[in-house]
Structure formats: structure tokens, C-alpha cells
């Protein structure tokens, strides 16, 4: 009787552990054709936290638009007939991103991961892509390490990076005569990299960093008063407070900057990275006159505007540059699969490397073979005064175009693909 009882316990343990199975080691898809007969995109990003507005769930809509355009362009000749879009929330944590990325590649048959904001998470996903030998287009993370010491054969850095932002905003602001900078940055890969890039750009343009402070990330309290109170007391007094915060943290900081009336105290504001959704949350009045570097703007020309209209129908908002870049990356991936006739990673990488492209997002674009940096035109933008805003979401005027060759750094010697 007792023996039987214990045996029942044993069986139940076994059942509990197995519940439903996953299978042994996975073998990579080899040869021609499509793995599983279809192409599956994996959109991995922040869907609940500080960066959920700038890309988030709407990036899935952008990928779906790309799929629709691919189908329309190739019709019956399309190599890819079936599509899937999987998604996961990485909560801006590298460990969650690590687990989710592996899960997308291994268990959801994802062929390419897109998006991945938050540099620390983005770098971790690059490792996973390398390990699994699957493609990864990073859109919304900024760290130059993705094309530096952490670069690999399967990772492409698509939209922007800290060099692009610093070279545009940092140099331009300093050349305007705001020489003394106080930099506040979030303390993780992105912020640290931004601080380095901005310091270099400002100093190269003849400016000086009079103070730099790392703010905790994620900043759960949303309180930046320490830095804002400190700014006017520094000697020499900074001409400009350079904030490297992004997303909801930037919004909080700018609100507090206005509450402390730092502009009246002679401390201007420079923003390291800003998305359209940030301006929308803050209203243009809070940011009027601020210049920053943009990778793409929806109302720049008719092509962009047409896409923005389609996007608005699908998502209800105007696209940020991250949305446009997700669209573009999905499209370029499908084009490469079309050309290669297979979704085998190595064949697709071969198609992409060194390719010159022009599409909605990539103007004068080139996918560099040396470090997988995707270079393209960038823009110096300025937030309009409230009186100039005539249409919702049209908050920015483009001051000048930064040509692709100038916008990005030359391939780093640290990168060995």
C-alpha cells in the first residue's frame, strides 16, 4: 500500500516535470528554401516601460506594412509566401532580453529579430544572434559597441548610434557658441556611450565639459532634481545642460528642467536623443527651439508622408524614426531573402553586405560590409515654436541634412566580424 503510494508520487513528479515537451537540440536550417516554409519576424522591445512609446507594439504594425509592400511588389514571384510576426517584451532588462531572444529563435522559429531598444539588452541579443547564427537588425539601441567590440556576422545596426547623435547635436550646439557643457546620462551602456561620444564631439568642436553625472537607470522615482539644482552652481556655469536620458525619463527630466526655470538662469538644454513621441508627450511648447539629431522625420517629404498616413491608419499615431526603420529593416530583409532564394542566415548576410539601398528610411543608404553599420542621411532638427505648429504631430523643422558619409563614424578597428 505504502509502496504503491510512493510510486504514485514518483509518477506525478515525472509528469510535473514534463507537462509538455520542447524537444532536444535544435538543428539549424541548412541549404536552400525557407525554414519551416515561412519567414518569421521577431519584434523584441519594451512594451510596458520607459521606451514603449518610441517603438513598442507599433513596431509590429510597421513590420506588417513591410510585409504587405513586399507581397504587393513581388506578387506571384515572391519567394516568401507565408509570414509570421512574433513579439516579446524585454522590459529593458538584459537578462529578460537574453531569455526572450533565445526563445524567439529556438522555439518560435524566428528568422530575424528586429528592434531591441536599451543598449545593454541590445548587446546581449547580439551575443544570442551570434550563438544561434540567426539574423538580428538592431533598430532602437544606440551603443556603438554593436558595430565595435561586440559586432558579429549576424548583427546589423540599422537606424542610428551615439556617434551620429553626438556628432550632430554636440558639434552643432558647441559651434553655436554654447561651449560649456554639463552632461547628465543614464548609467548603463547607452548613457555611458552617449557621454563618451558627446564629450568627444563637444571637445573636438572647441567646447568643454564642466561636469558629468550618471543618473541611476531605470530611474524608478523619475526625480532629476539633484542634477537640475546642481547645474547652475557649477563653475564655470554651464551654457548648456546636455541630457542623455531617453523616452519617459527624458520627458520627466525636461518637465523638471522647466519647473526649475533653468533656461532663465542661463542654462540651455541640449537633448541627446529624442523621438517624436517624446515631443508629443511634452508638447512642443516645453521644448521649443531645442535642436537635436533625427534619423528620419515623417513630414520631411511626400514619400515619408505617404507612409506616415498608412501608419497612422494602422497604429493611430505618426511614426517615429524607429517605426520607419523597423519597416525598412523588415523590407530589406525580405528583399535579401528574395534575392538569395532562401532564408538561410549566411546566404542572406551575403546579400546584405555592401549593398547600397535607398528606401523610405534609408536615404543614400549603404549596408557596410566591414562592421554591419547601416549608414544613411541624418538630419539636424529643431522643435517648432507652438505658434508654428499647424498640424498635430508636425512638431519639427529640418534645419539641414547630414550626409551619410559624415553622419556615421568610420568602421571601428575593434570590430572583427
Amino acid at each position: 500500500m505504502r509502496t504503491k503510494a510512493l510510486l504514485v508520487m514518483l509518477c506525478s513528479t515525472a509528469l510535473l516535470a514534463s507537462a509538455c515537451g520542447g524537444g532536444g537540440p535544435q538543428s539549424a536550417a541548412a541549404g536552400g528554401g525557407l525554414s519551416d516554409g515561412k519567414v518569421v519576424f521577431g519584434v523584441l522591445n519594451d512594451q510596458s516601460g520607459a521606451y514603449s512609446q518610441l517603438s513598442g507594439k507599433n513596431s509590429i504594425k510597421a513590420v506588417e506594412l513591410a510585409i504587405a509592400d513586399y507581397q504587393e511588389k513581388y506578387g506571384d514571384k515572391a519567394v516568401v509566401k507565408e509570414f509570421g510576426v512574433e513579439t516579446a517584451d524585454h522590459q529593458n532588462k538584459p537578462d529578460v532580453a537574453n531569455a526572450k531572444a533565445a526563445e524567439l529563435y529556438d522555439r518560435k522559429a524566428v528568422d530575424v529579430i528586429l528592434d531591441v531598444p536599451t543598449s545593454s539588452a541590445a548587446l546581449k541579443v547580439a551575443d544570442v544572434a551570434k550563438e544561434k547564427k540567426k539574423l538580428y537588425f538592431n533598430i532602437s539601441a544606440a551603443t556603438t559597441d554593436l558595430t565595435g567590440k561586440s559586432c558579429n556576422k549576424y548583427t546589423f545596426h540599422y537606424a542610428y548610434d551615439t556617434y551620429m547623435l553626438a556628432n550632430g547635436t554636440g558639434r552643432n550646439t558647441t559651434e553655436e557658441g554654447k561651449k560649456n557643457w554639463y552632461i547628465v546620462y543614464p548609467d548603463y551602456a547607452f548613457g555611458q556611450d552617449m557621454e563618451k561620444s558627446f564629450s568627444a564631439a563637444v571637445e573636438a568642436a572647441g567646447g568643454k565639459i564642466v561636469g558629468r553625472d550618471a543618473a541611476p537607470f531605470p530611474n524608478t522615482s523619475g526625480d532629476f532634481s539633484t542634477y537640475l539644482l546642481k547645474a547652475p552652481t557649477l563653475t564655470p556655469k554651464p551654457d548648456v545642460l546636455g541630457t542623455m536620458q531617453a523616452g519617459a525619463e527624458l520627458v520627466a527630466l525636461v518637465k523638471q528642467y522647466n519647473e526649475f526655470k533653468l533656461r532663465d538662469k542661463g542654462v540651455g538644454l541640449a537633448v541627446g536623443l529624442m523621438f517624436l513621441t517624446d515631443i508629443h508627450s511634452l508638447t512642443p511648447a516645453a521644448l521649443a527651439g531645442t535642436t537635436y539629431t533625427d534619423a528620419w522625420y515623417w513630414n520631411y517629404d511626400l514619400t515619408n508622408r505617404t507612409f506616415a498616413d498608412r501608419f497612422k491608419t494602422a497604429a493611430g499615431v505618426r511614426p517615429t524614426f524607429a517605426h520607419a526603420a523597423n519597416y525598412s529593416a523588415a523590407l530589406q530583409y525580405l528583399e535579401a531573402v528574395q534575392a538569395a532564394g532562401t532564408d538561410g542566415s549566411d546566404a542572406v548576410v551575403k546579400q546584405l553586405e555592401g549593398k547600397t539601398v535607398s528606401d523610405l528610411f534609408l536615404r543614400n543608404g549603404k549596408i557596410r560590409a566591414e562592421d554591419h553599420r547601416v549608414v544613411h542621411d541624418a538630419y539636424l532638427a529643431q522643435v517648432k515654436a507652438p505658434a508654428e505648429v499647424t498640424e498635430e504631430w508636425d512638431y519639427v523643422k529640418i534645419l539641414r541634412t547630414i550626409p551619410a558619409a559624415e553622419a556615421f563614424r568610420t568602421p571601428s578597428p575593434d570590430c572583427k566580424l
Partner: protein, 352 residues
């Protein structure tokens, strides 16, 4: 606080589920020990052959696991099983509820990661170094903490764990702060362990070793003394046992086992983030032990498998509020099945 007041504290602490629930099983066990026959928590005598059958079946399940499960999850189960058993050694057999065990799990994870990254050591050596680092940390923490019991012990361990968390967060040059230790190598004499499936088998001996270590300790005279201390520290002292020293030894052994798990976790994920030191990690370990069954050793292993599998299943299904489900199950367990999964099952089957 002097030792004289210990029994009062013990009584006070008995209000918490853990200790109170323990009392029944352990006294039975302590009684049975006097007759020299090994018995499980409930007091039934288990034939030797069945004990071996149980161990044998567990081995079979362990060997089969990555074939039936996503191998990454199998590795996680193995690591958490070690961690939970370490907590059970204190909670179930010494009557000490540690709420800061993430400090040892996490310290070992970082130490293992750093050893693997900087010196390129084979992973078992790195894991062993990590576990030893956890023991080194456990010496001062344990020395101070074991002077308290019940809720005070839990608070002291939690306080130390939080200190370690913030040190790791601030000590960026070593821990890389929020970025975490990335690209921890998985080295073993040039074998290709990139695939989690193979890594699981490479790690299994370490897990089995750690579990055996705790099992051996619990079923030794040393373990009997621990149980005696838990049930009546004053009497144990009166019998001449140095109570604090025994508790400290159990604490160090527990830290070592948790360290083995933490080190394997770091190698398994090839990554160490601040989360390994977060108090929620300590909490999860306690939850696993309570769900599985306090003071059963088998229970925490089953609990680790159940919780990890459930979390994975929920997250795979796209359900993000995992805490809601595990929390609800925890509340139900505490209210209805206080002996935990394994404990209740054993108890219920024995009654029939």
C-alpha cells in the same frame, strides 16, 4: 540577545508558517531517529529498496529532462533545485528562515562569471571558486545572523543581501552595473557546449554532487543535531552542543550549495545581471521551498521544477503577470496545503 531568550523567540517565530508547520514532521523524525531507522517527515518507515527506487527514478528523470523540455529551462530547473535545497537546509532542518540567500547565489554568479571571463577557467572550476566566494561572504554574515532567530534572522540576512546588491550596483568597474557581465565563456577542455542541451549534461554532475552533499549532511549525526537545535535550542545547548557553531556550519554549507547553483546559473545564461542579487530572487527561493514542501529535500527539487516550468509556460504563452499566478498559488498553498506539494502528497497517501 542572549541564548536564554532563544526559546521565546522560537515560539514567536512559530507564528510564521514555516516553523510551525515544521514542528510536527520533525519531532516525529527526531523520535524515529532514536530508533536508528531513517524516516521521512511524516513518520513512515521507508524500505531501503524504495528509497533507492526513488533516487533511481529521480536520476532517470534528471537524465531525460532536456529531451522533454526546452534545454534552457532544464538548466534553470537544475540551478534552482540546488538553490532551493540550500534554503531548505536552513529553513527545514535548522529552523532558520533566510531571506537573503540571493547574496550567496548572486555573489557566486558574479565570482564565477569573473573567473570564467578573466582567467578562462573550465566552468566546473569557476563554479567551485564562485561557491567558495559565497562561503567567504557567508562567514561574517552567518556569524552575525545566527545569533538571532525567527523574524530577526530573516531581517538580518535580508539587510546583508541588500547591502551586497547595492555594492554590486555601485561597483561598476567589476560588475558592469546595469549592463551586467556579458559573454561569460562556457569552457570545458575545448568541448563545444554552446548548445544548452549538452551543457545540461555537463552541469548535471555538479548539481547531483551539491544535492548529495546536502542529503548526506541532513542524514548525518550533524544533521540530527541541527534538527534538535531547531526543535529545542535550549535543550540542545543543555546537552552540550555549541548551538551557534552548528548553525553557522549549516549556514556555510547552505551558502556553498546556493553558490554552486548561482555559479551554474551564470555559466548557463552566459550572463550575470543585478537580478541575481535582487531580493525577489531570495523570495523566489523561499516560495519554491514552501511550495515544494519544507524540510523534505525532495520537495524543493520538485518545487523548483514546478515553478520554473510554470513561469516558462506562462511567459511562452505571452502572459506577463507571472507574479500574479505564482503569488496566488503560494497563498493557496499556505492556506490549504501547508506541507507543500511533496509534503502534502506524501502525507495524504500515507493516510490512506
Amino acid at each position: 540577545m542572549s541564548e536564554q531568550s532563544a526559546p521565546e523567540q522560537e515560539t514567536a517565530a512559530a507564528g510564521s508558517v514555516a516553523v510551525e508547520d515544521q514542528a510536527v514532521g520533525v519531532r516525529a523524525e527526531a523520535r524515529a531517529t532514536a530508533t536508528g531507522t531513517p524516516v521521512p517527515a511524516g513518520g513512515t518507515i521507508v524500505p531501503r529498496w524504495l528509497r533507492w527506487a526513488l533516487v533511481g527514478s529521480a536520476l532517470v528523470v534528471a537524465l531525460w529532462l532536456p529531451n522533454g523540455l526546452y534545454p534552457t529551462v532544464a538548466v534553470d530547473i537544475a540551478c534552482w533545485a540546488l538553490f532551493a535545497v540550500a534554503v531548505d537546509l536552513l529553513l527545514g532542518y535548522t529552523g532558520l528562515m533566510s531571506f537573503g540567500h540571493a547574496a550567496f547565489w548572486g555573489t557566486s554568479a558574479y565570482a564565477t562569471g569573473l573567473a570564467a571571463i578573466n582567467w578562462g577557467l573550465p566552468f566546473p572550476v569557476a563554479v567551485l571558486l564562485g561557491a567558495l566566494a559565497a562561503v567567504v561572504l557567508a562567514i561574517p554574515v552567518g556569524y552575525l545572523a545566527v545569533k538571532r532567530v525567527g523574524i530577526y534572522f530573516a531581517m538580518v540576512t535580508l539587510a546583508f543581501a541588500q547591502m551586497v546588491y547595492y555594492i554590486a550596483n555601485q561597483w561598476r568597474s567589476v560588475t558592469q552595473g546595469e549592463n551586467g557581465l556579458q559573454r561569460v565563456p562556457r569552457e570545458l577542455f575545448g568541448l563545444d557546449l554552446t548548445d544548452e542541451y549538452y551543457f545540461y549534461y555537463a552541469a548535471l554532475p555538479i548539481v547531483a554532487g551539491g544535492l548529495f552533499l546536502v542529503w548526506r549532511a541532513v542524514h548525518s549525526p550533524f544533521g540530527r543535531v541541527l534538527v534538535a537545535i531547531r526543535d529545542n535550542p535550549a535543550r540542545a545547548r543543555a546537552l552540550g552542543y555549541p548551538v551557534h557553531r552548528y548553525k553557522l556550519a549549516a549556514f556555510l554549507l547552505s551558502a556553498f550549495t546556493a553558490g554552486l547553483g548561482g555559479g551554474l546559473f551564470a555559466i548557463g545564461h552566459r550572463f550575470v545581471s543585478l537580478d541575481v542579487l535582487h531580493w525577489t530572487t531570495s523570495g523566489k527561493a523561499v516560495i519554491i521551498v514552501v511550495l515544494g514542501g519544507i524540510g523534505t529535500l525532495w520537495g524543493p527539487v520538485v518545487g523548483a521544477a514546478g515553478v520554473t516550468r510554470l513561469e516558462d509556460w506562462l511567459s511562452f504563452a505571452g502572459f506577463e503577470q507571472i507574479g500574479l499566478v505564482t503569488g496566488a498559488i503560494f497563498v493557496l498553498t499556505v492556506l490549504i496545503f501547508r506541507r507543500g506539494l511533496w509534503g502534502t502528497l506524501a502525507h495524504w497517501l500515507r493516510r490512506r
